[in-house]
Symmetry: C2
Subunit: 276 residues, 2 copies
């Protein structure tokens, strides 16, 4: 692992690190905010998964999470959204290939060799973090925005016991039923739609739910509402009697201004469960 | 004036607007955060002047001011740092020309025609804001980062009665005595150094001071400390018995992580004086 940069922030440190990943078979970069308390011993961890086109950097600079994480003594990890580099497959579209990993393990050419973001987030990066930083991996929570909200919800439901709480900002809720999803799942996983269900949080909610609390914020003026399909998740969660708070926030769009506005609530929500 | 974008943020709106300026003789873009309270009537205004290489956008996205401004019911204006465009003079260096207006009215070729950022911030933009938004121009405060901290301090001291309070993050404190300053003042104002004194906050502090409270934060690990010369301002302010809080913040550098860490303190400081 190499240290790319470290900036003091909110009494702790905002670091950027790179490492060779065995799962994505390329150099990966991530951001990690460590609160001051990490100097004294392991601290809880909040994962923030980003959306389409983002790197590790966007949320780290624009989501405002560090202020609240510092207040709560929680670390925040900002992974990249895909493998990257000259040797890595790509597509001209903004929503496929590099910057658009969709948090799945691809099985189809040309993606299968590098696009294993599920394993990267679920296995590879947690091991690296545990080895190198003062993090209490028994106290983890996860959140994300848009494609990253999809990743947070599907990972949380599929890895029972891993995350104490899950939240999402304007998540892609039903990718098997919308173009943000069908396009990528078809490209990465092939045309057999039975393989897609494991990556659809509305279907997972119906099939198994989450053993813990869920918080989802959605802007009413989100320009991508038709692609996100929050109604599918709301329907599934309600039918299941899932412990959940779904909030339709009047007037907000899909931008980081929406994310940063509600970040304090999300960090507080996770802190409540991480310290329960 | 044209509306470039409006995003709901922290209960208010983060807008971006453009207009033709009579003083810089080109199209100028600025950001304006309006808190929810602006729906009910004029609100106080905090100016945020940015540093070298920045546009109106950097601080708007990365400084985290809106969260605290919303809490205090204060508007924040984010002007650009120079005139811009194909017809505007420029230089290959990052610290001269476009993105580096230094908040002066240039008198020298090729800068004199467009580089009138002092008048733009002091006259042109305030008029436009007053005409178009619910702002209480009798309650203004000003802050800034680096070159923008220089601008905030020099404007506040040179326009008595305009600003109730002034603060700065890692300001260029003594531009007549360092390469961040001598290079630009010479280019924009010519070689007669007596013309430079009006744009040096340490010299202004010695000559007239500020009739109100001043807050300055500086990171102890700032990579540009030699260029900023906070010791010159500290010396002048102390000799003058200026009401001031100067804080050397251990371990912080020159980045937006430093700015965002202390933004809450600065907005609270200004709110205290704007609502006094």
């Amino acid at each position: 692992m190499e240290t790319v940069s470290v900036n003091k922030a909110f009494g702790g440190t905002q670091g950027v690190y790179s490492h060779h990943s065995q799962t994505t078979r390329c150099e990966m970069t991530f951001g990690l905010f460590l609160p001051e308390e990490a100097n004294d011993g392991p601290v809880p961890v909040l994962w923030y998964l980003s959306g389409l086109t983002c790197t590790h950097e966007n949320a780290m600079n624009k989501a405002g999470a560090q202020a609240w994480a510092a207040e709560q003594g929680i670390a925040v990890v900002f992974p990249d959204t895909s493998p990257r580099g000259d040797g890595v497959a790509n597509d001209d579209a903004y929503d496929l290939g590099q910057g658009a990993g969709f948090y799945v393990n691809a099985t189809q050419a040309p993606w299968a060799r590098h696009f294993n973001m599920w394993d990267y987030i679920a296995e590879d990066l947690p091991s690296l973090l545990q080895e190198n930083f003062a993090l209490d991996m028994s106290r983890q929570a996860i959140t994300g925005h848009s494609m990253g909200g999809h990743g947070a919800l599907t990972l949380a439901m599929s890895l029972p016991g891993r995350f104490r709480s899950v939240s999402a900002f304007a998540p892609i809720c039903n990718p098997t039923g919308a173009e943000w999803g069908r396009k990528q799942l078809s490209a990465y996983l092939g045309d057999d739609e039975t393989k897609w269900a494991a990556h659809d949080s509305s279907l997972l909610m119906r099939a198994r739910g989450f053993d813990g609390a869920v918080l989802v914020d959605q802007g009413s003026e989100d320009q991508f509402l038709d692609l996100l399909r929050p109604e599918a998740l709301a329907n599934a969660a309600t039918e299941r009697r899932q412990e959940i708070t779904l909030r339709m926030q009047k007037g907000y769009d899909h931008s980081y201004f929406f994310v940063s506005t509600f970040m304090e609530d999300h960090v507080s929500f996770h802190a409540q469960h991480l310290y329960a």
